[in-house]
Symmetry: C2
Subunit: 191 residues, 2 copies
C-alpha cells in the first residue's frame, strides 16, 4: 500500500478548502482547476483522482462549506439559543464576513449558482432550507417569530452580504450592515 492510509482524504479536504475559498470569491468561471490545485500545492493531474469534473468539485465544495459554516458550529455553553443567534447574526452582518472570512455560499454564490447544474441547485436549496430551519430553532418556535418572518430575515441578510460585497464605499457598507442588524432584531422581536 502506498502513502499513508489517510493521505488521500487529507488531499481531498485541502482541495475542497481551496476550491471553496476561490469559487466563493471569484465564481465558477474565474477559477481554473489549475488554480485550485496550485492553491493547495498539488497539480492538475492529481485532481482527476479526486473528482470527476470541475462541476462535481463545485458541488462538493458547496456541501463542504455548508458543513463548515458558523451556523453549523455548536452553540457555546453558557449562551442561550437567542444569545447565540444574536452573535451569529452580528457575525454574518459584519465586514469580516463580507471580506470573505468563512463566507456564506448563499450570499457569495447567489447568482453564480444559477448557471450550474440541477444537482448543484438542489444542494444550494438544501443549504438554504437548513439555514432557515436553524434560525427558526434558535429563535424559538413559541417566541412570536414564525417561519414567514424567518424567510424575510434570511432574504435580508443574504441580500445585505451579497450587495455589500460589490460596494467599495466602506462607510455605505457599514450602514447597510448596521441597518440590517437592527432590522433583524425587530423581526425577531428583540433579543
Amino acid at each position: 500500500m502506498p502513502y499513508s492510509r489517510e493521505h488521500k482524504q487529507q488531499s481531498r479536504a485541502r482541495i475542497l478548502q481551496s476550491a471553496y475559498r476561490l469559487f466563493s470569491t471569484k465564481g465558477f468561471d474565474n477559477v481554473t482547476v489549475d488554480a485550485v490545485m496550485q492553491d493547495c500545492s498539488l497539480t492538475r493531474g492529481a485532481f482527476y483522482g479526486h473528482f470527476r469534473s470541475k462541476s462535481e468539485l463545485y458541488k462538493e465544495a458547496l456541501t463542504f462549506a455548508a458543513s463548515n459554516s458558523k451556523l453549523a458550529d455548536r452553540q457555546p455553553e453558557g449562551l442561550s439559543p437567542r444569545e447565540w443567534l444574536s452573535q451569529l447574526l452580528d457575525g454574518y452582518l459584519s465586514l469580516e464576513h463580507v471580506a470573505g472570512d468563512r463566507p456564506c455560499p448563499l450570499a457569495f454564490l447567489a447568482t453564480d449558482i444559477v448557471s450550474r447544474n440541477k444537482e448543484t441547485h438542489e444542494t444550494y436549496a438544501h443549504v438554504y432550507s437548513r439555514m432557515n430551519q436553524l434560525i427558526l430553532d434558535y429563535a424559538g418556535k413559541n417566541s412570536g417569530t414564525n417561519e414567514q418572518d424567518i424567510l424575510s430575515l434570511t432574504s435580508m441578510i443574504i441580500g445585505a452580504v451579497a450587495v455589500s460585497r460589490t460596494i467599495e464605499d466602506k462607510q455605505l457598507v457599514q450602514q447597510i450592515l448596521s441597518s440590517c442588524r437592527q432590522q433583524a432584531r425587530v423581526i425577531l422581536g428583540g433579543i
Copy 2:
C-alpha cells in the same frame, strides 16, 4: 453617407437589449459575444463597431437596464407615491420578475458583478444608490420611514429575488416572496 442616420443607434440599442437579457440570466462568462449578436440578428464582426470589448458591453448593458427598469418608470397619474411604491414592490417581489421579466440587475447580477472591473462596480453601486433614493422618495421622507429602514428593505427584496431565482420549488419561492411583501409593508409602516 451610408445607411440611414439612426441606423447605428438602433443597432446599438438592439445589442444592448439582447446583451442585458442574456447577461442577466446567464452571467458574463456564460454569454459569448457571438450569442449576443446572434440574438439580435447581427454578427460577430459588427460588434466591435459599437463596443471596444465585451467588458464595456457589460457595463453599458447595466446602465441601459437601470434606465429601462420599472423603478425608472414615471409614476402613473391617479396614484399616490405610496400606492405606486406598493405596486412596484409587488412587481419586484413577483414570480414574473424572478422568471426574468425586466429583471433587476441588482438582484440578477449580484455576485456576477464582483469579478468585473472597477468601472462596472461603480455603475452597480450607482444603480443601487438610485434605487434606495427612489424608494425613499416614494415612501415620503416624513413618513416615519428613514434611510436606515430603506437599506434593510432593499437588502431584503434584492436578496429575496436573488435567492428565489435559484430555487426550483415554486411553492417555496411563493412563500419567500409573499413573506417579503408582507415584511416590506411592516418596514414602510403600512401602505
